[in-house]
Amino acid sequence: MKEETNSMPAHDAPQVNYLNWSHTVKSWLLTGDHKRIAMLYLISVSAFFLVGSAAAGLIRLELTSPRGVLLENETYNKIFTMHGVVMVFFFLIPAIPAILGNFLVPLMIGARDLAFPRLNLLSWYVYMAGGVCAVIAMMTGGVDTGWTFYTPYSSMYSKSQVVWAICGAFFAGFSSIFTGINFIVTIHKMRAPGLTWFRLPLFVWAQYATSVIMILGTPVIAITLLLVVVERTLHIGIFDPKLGGDPVLFQHLFWFYSHPAVYIMILPSMGVISELMACFSRKRVFGYSFVAFSSLAIAALGFLVWGHHMFVSSQSMYQGMVFSIISTVVAVPSAIKVFNWTATMYKGSIRLETPMYYALGFLGLFLIGGLTGLYLSSMATDIHLHDTYFVVAHFHYVMVGGTIMGYLGGLHFWWPKMTGRLYSEFWGRLSAILVFLGFNATFMPQFVVGYLGMPRRYHYYYLMPEFQIWHVLSSFGSILLAVGFMLPAFYLTWSYLKGPKAGPNPWNATGLEWTTQSPPMSHNFDEPPIVTEEAYAYDAEAEEAEDIEEAPAAKPAHAPKPAGG
């Protein structure tokens, strides 16, 4: 590992870290360093986010008029399919695990790297291979099945590039299996001395629960999609209704993964929120073990609710009832988390900085997303709302409002650790507010128009011109949202290049990742850390003070903090 003397200006000369020890392309493309792989993921996942957002923009533009603006029917189908496939498989699922999780799990548990660095690198290459397949599918004519690839349309009738798109999803799935295996083994076997399970940061618990879903669920979708491909190409068809096959079997298998996949997206985000709540309330997370186990409960229950996607597709009423009840039960661990975060903030000394803006935004959006989920898990209301924009709004509240708020919050929180640089608080807060407002402006009208009966995936609605106002409102909101998403791209890039240096611990947070330099060196820690206390020892001083004085007013007094509330 010799130092490259490169012509790059060494603006942060003395400190050798994982970013600057070598600047060669080879040192990046063949790296085993989890931090570098996280950065590779950051760049590629952001690129796919841009593609998916562009498709979303086209959809919103198209729906401003009841007769459409720009696209033909077929093209519209392809655009919303592209939006779904890219956003689900190439943005939401890898976003937090593969970027923040990759970067943070070894740091948080005091390990030098993940258990299988090469498998980790392979997962990025497989992800990119999937991305290339998806791009090929788009370039050679697109896919019109919707991201759900329902049979028999996908397996027999669609004339579009289904095989390429499925290969894309298949590869992306493998990338996520590899990440899952790596996290599970690493978290089980590579924790620093003294870091017991109940001293783990909740982010690690969340990654663990997510990894369990990844390794149990993803193989199912992989083989199911493969069956669609062999049915299309080799006619080995087990979903073909002409033979007596059951296309609904596909839906069962598809949702057996794709419902838990929602928890692959949201659980890591919840892990991020736990960290943010503790750090910016200066308090330990209320009910630590409940929050930890609720992650596992969500992961477990998540596998038992897939049938709620199929209330209207030939499922028996009793089956529907069971799925309906279990789906409603998922609200319990989710609510445990929300209540515990709220209780964490209660009597905390809350500091409103950018990551906390995102965390608070998450609470609001996830609350709406979760509560509207109850309307959809109840069979009777679902019959009315099924396949309407109400569903679209609901899952965007959970997936975008939940995952992206957590992702951006986490990215802003750990950005100084990842790059060693600070960003502008003003722009950070502004973008958080814009995302929150823009998001609500985009999707709140969709609840209304969906309730009124606007079906999802429709291109025209000229028989119901009164829907236009809601669609226009929604499209207007999406502009705001787009600005909110674009801003971080600019000021974070600026911060990376020119931002002021961050110390090892700019937020004065607990956690092993803050004990090493920013950005960390390649092997993470100079000395292998030894853990002697719980994860969120924020109020230790305050507690001591309280024990003596019995006065909560003592709290603001423990004051080695840079920023005011």
């Binding site: 790297d113 090469r118 599970i184 083994v185 076997k189 069956l227 033979l243 298998l253």
Partner: protein, 224 residues
């Protein structure tokens, strides 16, 4: 390159411990946990197909019974024997590796390759016979037995999908075994320790177990 075998090619210290681990003990323990985790994903992989099989056999039991008569039980039985024997050789290979008996390790690994290869050859003859008899799903499919041709086609779809996926696993096994045997032959330091062979052994026994389920489900169906 099999992801589960090649982990230590370039670390410079002679013990072949990767930099992220403390010592060979931790490394071995982690490798084995990783392998078992990987096998869990494999179970989920095959699980989908077994689930589909259960569903369709329950729905189309009679036709499945008729269709299964077409399969060659004798060849299936021979293949089962071959594969079980290979698992025995694999276990002996792991033992030799543990005892650091390089020659015997190599011998047993090659024996496993021979068995796996024999399995694939027999499978090839079985498949060719099916294709020649128009019992492969698709436009050329013909069904002369009693019952619905469509349902029989689903039987053969499942047959080819499941034994095909299993066959792919055997092929991957042969390739990985080839690499392992080569590494043992050239005294590659990655196989100084028995763990890579132990890990492959787990994979191989898993492939074997899958076949132990496939054989009765397709070849030995009871009437009813």
């Amino acid at each position: 390159m099999g992801v589960h075998t090649a982990h230590n090619a370039e670390s410079s210290d002679h013990a072949a411990v990767s930099h992220q681990f403390e010592d060979i003990g931790q490394q071995n323990e982690i490798y084995i946990v990783g392998m078992w985790t990987f096998l869990v994903t494999e179970i989920m992989f095959f699980g989908v197909l077994f689930f589909a099989y259960v569903l369709y056999r329950w729905k189309f039991g009679d036709v499945f019974y008729e269709a299964h008569k077409v399969l060659n039980v004798r060849l299936g039985f021979i293949n089962t024997t071959v594969l079980l024997t290979s698992s025995l050789f694999m276990a002996l290979g792991v033992r030799s590796a543990m005892l650091k008996n390089r020659k015997m390790t190599l011998f047993w690994l090659i024996s496993v390759i021979v068995c796996a290869f024999a399995f694939m050859v027999i499978k090839y003859f079985e498949y060719s016979a099916k294709i020649a008899a128009h019992e492969i799903p698709g436009p050329f499919f013909q069904w002369h037995g009693p019952g619905s041709a469509g349902q029989a086609e689903i039987f053969f779809s499942l047959y080819f999908a499941m034994t095909g996926l299993h066959g792919i696993h055997v092929l991957i096994g042969i390739i990985t075994l080839g690499i392992l045997a080569w590494m043992v032959a050239v005294k590659h330091k990655a196989v100084d320790d028995y763990m890579p062979i132990e890990m492959f052994g787990l994979y191989w026994h898993f492939v074997d177990i899958v076949w132990i389920f496939l054989f009765p489900l397709f070849y030995l169906m009871p009437h009813g």
